[in-house]
Amino acid sequence: MHVLTANWHTYWEGFVGTIELTAVSSALALLLGVLIAGFRVSPVPGLRAFGTVWVTLLRNTPLTLLFFIVVLGLPRFGISLPFFTFAVLALSCYTSAFICEALRSGINTVPLGQGEAARSLGMTFGQTLSLVVLPQAARSVIGPIGSLLIALAKNSAIAGSFSVTELLGSYRTINELGYSIIWTFVWIAVGYLVITLAISAVFNLLERRLAVAR
């Protein structure tokens, strides 16, 4: 216990860092995921191709490699941003590919007739997707997307190796002060557990709220 109380400040900074990283990256990943999923089911061949390339590249690249590409690659093109922003970019682009695919499988569970009815009433592609198809797809993908955001929270630990303050990285400071390595990690694990359990609680709630009669 005293490892935690003695290093409360270090732990707290890391904990908050991980929460910030997770929250901002989740929001961006969801946004991008919905957009790319829209691309992948759109009637425009160019957009579909872009979506396919996006998913194929990002889903099949190791996340650490993606961090290297962003952190070392972008400055070469004169783009230098804070490390936090780089980390958000890497995490959210990576996760968006998985969210896109989860959404797409959800879209495929919505009967074709729903989209046809919307189109026959004069709705555009965007309206059909956002008003009729996605709200129904959401119900079947809430669970998988919760899992993806939990994975994102844990993946954010990689950012610690790229000069971003986050929970896992706090072990270095504490370890240098000579505290027990085992207890250092036990408290870090508890920190992650708090974050991931909070995410699953939110998604359980969402799942129950969205499961109305049909």
């Binding site: 009967p111 729903q114 046809e116 919307a118 026959s120 009433l121 004069g122 049909r214």
Partner: protein, 250 residues
Amino acid sequence: MTTAPFTPLIQLSGVNKHYGALHVLQDIDLTVGRGEVVVVIGPSGSGKSTLCRAINRLESIESGTITIDGQPLPAEGRGLARLRAEVGMVFQSFNLFAHKTVLQNVTLAQVKVRGRSRAEAEAKGRSLLERVGLVEHADKYPAQLSGGQQQRVAIARALAMEPKALLFDEPTSALDPEMITEVLDVMRGLAADGMTMVVVTHEMGFARSAANRVVFMADGRIVEDRAPEEFFANPRSERAKDFLSKILHH
């Protein structure tokens, strides 16, 4: 039945479509006048549903032209969406929006496509639900209604857009026998009010009583296109005679 002069509203000319090797629509020429009720009948696989769906481009066509009220049907995009708003469609499987209440089903497109205010859309929606006898179910979800009730809501949803014409793609084929009447009654009412309708159906009683013309399709072609009393009493083609002998004697 119609006394008004014949003005064409829906015109198909030289329409062709294949499903792989199957030539499902072969040189289709069909004109539907304003206020006319045209019933399309024929054996399954004859292309009648495809024809109906091609009129608002839920099915694309390979050659030929389709015009609605003089305007050619655009291939994609906003122009197509605008034209579709003018042509209502009622499906065999109802296709009510499962995540919306009955009232939301009849107001959604009014607000989002027609740009009406919520209050205006709800007033119109309720009066149409009243017309199809379902206003007391306004706050239920589609799954809580019977098939016949769902189909009546679907008709109200299509009417809410104030379309120039309504397409019915086998509207009673998924219904239990005792629910067919309630849907056909609503459709007869629309026909009597002068709505332009294209109805793909197996309900010969409806064809006899409400149609101005019966179009008989077989193997992707229009084989006969005549007044119902002539068609049923005295079909010209062997194909139609054969079809009628199979469906009218059981």
